[in-house]
Amino acid sequence: MAASNKTLAERDPIDPLVGRYPLVEGDPSFSEVTAAVVRPIEQPPKAWWIFFLLSLGMLGIFGISVGYLFWEGTGVWGLNIPVGWGWAIVNFVFWVGIGHAGTLISAILFLFRQKWRTSINRAAEAMTIFAVICALSFPTIHVGRVWLIYWPLPIPNQMGMWPNFRSPLLWDVFAVSTYFTVSLLFWYVGLIPDIATMRDRAKSRVAKLAYGAFALGWRGSHRHWVNYESAYLLLAAMATPLVLSVHSIVSFDFAVSQLPGWHTTIFPPYFVAGAIFSGFGMVLTLMIPLRKWFGLDHIITTKHLENMAKIVLLTGSLVGYAYSMEFFIAWYSGNPYEAFVFVNRAFGDYAWAYWIMVSCNVITPQLIWFKKIRRSATALFILSIFVNIGMWFERFVIVATSLHHDFLPSSWDYFSPTIWDWGTLIGSFGLFFTLFALFVRYLPMIAISEIKGVMEKANPHHPSYGHGGHEGPAATKEETPEAAAAPAEPKAAVVTEEKATAPEPEAKASPEPEAPKSSEPTDAPGADPEPAAPVAQTPKVEAPKVEAPKVEAPKVEAPKVDAPVERPGEKAPSQAEAVKKPEGPKSPTTRGWTAFMDAADMGIEPPKVTPGPKPAATDETPDKEGKEDA
């Protein structure tokens, strides 16, 4: 067993059970981070031109399709009388859904202090804005007479009438335009410090002027940062209910109508889950190639991809639950029209679309349960394409199947798209990718200032900076809990193992080149509070490995548990305790560990255990013990 001499932390370095994996790999300096992020802007790769020209070609298709539509009217589409909402509405809902991940990543993950979001939030926000632009273009062209598109807005018009505020379609106008505006503001506020970075690096006069104008004279003043951070937090706090409301309101377009298959109360949460699902799918589709082409693997790490994949899995399963619940309610409600619509959905004319939807949205994402798949960029890229396809079909199934067979069999019809429907769909991808290509070419696709803020060396109290010389009250306050934590742990038993844990951020930070010690004489060995901090980390460092022996303890160790009783004040873990709290707080873990150590000291051979969830872990720790004893 080759892997058997590795610790648990080494075997799964990107997911230590305790402690944190660094959000930026390789411990670059601040200016190296800046350089890595702006490299695609300063030296764009050749592939960018290929991507941009392809997108531009697709955008041309959009222009032709929309131009012909304006010339001829909506008759060029495949709409007919029961199916009055065709591809335009399908595409609208599809793009609005994609537009939800950006604000979710930015706002909701920000509020939950999920720092991993900083690597992906900028690009996801940009994606949101471009997706909402695509989305907004569809209702606009769908109204037929585009020159009257201002009618839904509350501005005086030639009829002397006001819009009907009781209509969900009007709510939609307000929801989506508010969403667009707020997302744009959120994105721009986040961009200001980074545009200032671009301004200060710009060489050409045009670039200096353009970046300079949009940077608004940002100079990194901390008095500004205080207001800035407050504004950003509040924007996040407002964007969070906003993002949930927008797709709920989009779902009201359907749910408030009387049509079987649309008139269901599950629609708002179901649409929101679907939106997050499709949005993360699109983020994966975009970020996986970009991190490769632009060499940003150390900032958008496998851990980031894995986290996103988990959200895809969760929301995909929620969507699958919604599908089955719709069927259940169709049967349980006893409404024959509702029941017919759902049987027709799964087995009628559009059964092909329905089963594409189910396979892509419910079945394939279940592969993410496998760790190998959710950590493979290639596999996730392929899966994300399936998610995109599946979510488009979901919108299509909802719109087309409910409409094409409505109450009156005499009016039933079948919707099939024309070439112009296809043109607008493909063209809208062109619009989206063109905007995205311009974004990655001219703006930093990773939030430079935010990513620096989550690096360890950004923390002025990081142990590697030393702790001497505090004078202010604030500093002392922050320092005390760290130091106080140290003596609470029985460190004697664990100290031997400390060096083995390579990927632990705290352990790694001390030799970092970019962090010169402060000029105060804390470098000297034994200088007062400095050593306290590293010691405080020790129990944390240790914990992941300790898991392994503890798991087996209830099964086999029972007769041996009396050994640790020698240790005063320590109690052997009871079976129930160990089973119930496999990842519990530090102290039971340490107890399990000392029990194991003592058993080893007494010369008792640690037993082989039947492979559990972490089979290698149970075998290898004993080996290590043996060596240490020798």
């Binding site: 006001w162 959120f186 402060s518």
Partner: protein, 179 residues
């Protein structure tokens, strides 16, 4: 253009966030008022080290958000029940449950305007010219430079003593910046 000789103040560069943090504590305790720290990212806790107060942005947001929602509701009520009453789906003129979504959205919209434009106003942005941009070294502030600038208009300012304070606080470079 004749060159003005007026001095804006002293600009000191520090090696890393920790040095800057301790230096800010020293400058704060020395009693300066017209000074600021400049960093590429918001250094956690620096506002305490500088002795700054909490931001007032939340108040602006609250006022703007509630007025947005209130005005949004009034608009719908006036348009639907006063200016051009129409019976739609047999609902009352003032069918307030149906007005909730637009009221909510407008509250969020104006609250966000309050957050962003309120922040700009408090920070006096856009301000395309600032004396500190006269320093070449200061361009690093958006990359990896950590600075403190103490302005000459501060009553405690004294070219020699202030410079000594900054150097003692661990500055790697101190320079005078023209206004």
């Amino acid at each position: 253009m004749p060159k003005r000789k007026k001095i804006y103040g002293l600009l000191a560069e520090f090696r890393n966030p920790a040095d800057l943090y301790h230096a800010c504590e020293k400058v704060r305790d020395a009693g300066y008022a017209a000074w600021d720290a400049y960093t590429p990212f918001p250094v956690h806790g620096l506002e305490q080290a500088m002795g700054l107060r909490r931001s007032v942005v939340p108040w602006i947001v609250a006022i703007m958000g509630f007025s947005g929602a209130g005005l949004g509701f009034l608009m719908q009520w006036w348009m639907s029940a006063v200016d051009y009453p129409l019976i739609i789906s047999a609902k009352p003129y003032n069918s307030y449950p149906a007005f909730v979504p637009v009221t909510f959205e407008l509250g969020i919209l104006l609250g966000s305007f309050g957050a962003v434009f309120g922040m700009f106003a408090l920070n006096r942005l856009p301000q395309l010219y600032h004396s500190l941009f006269n320093s070449d070294r200061f361009a690093k502030v958006t990359d990896d430079g950590f600075f403190i600038a103490i302005e000459a208009r501060d009553p405690n300012y004294d070219p020699a003593r202030t410079r000594a304070l900054l150097e003692e606080a661990g500055a790697v470079a101190v320079e005078e910046v023209e206004d």
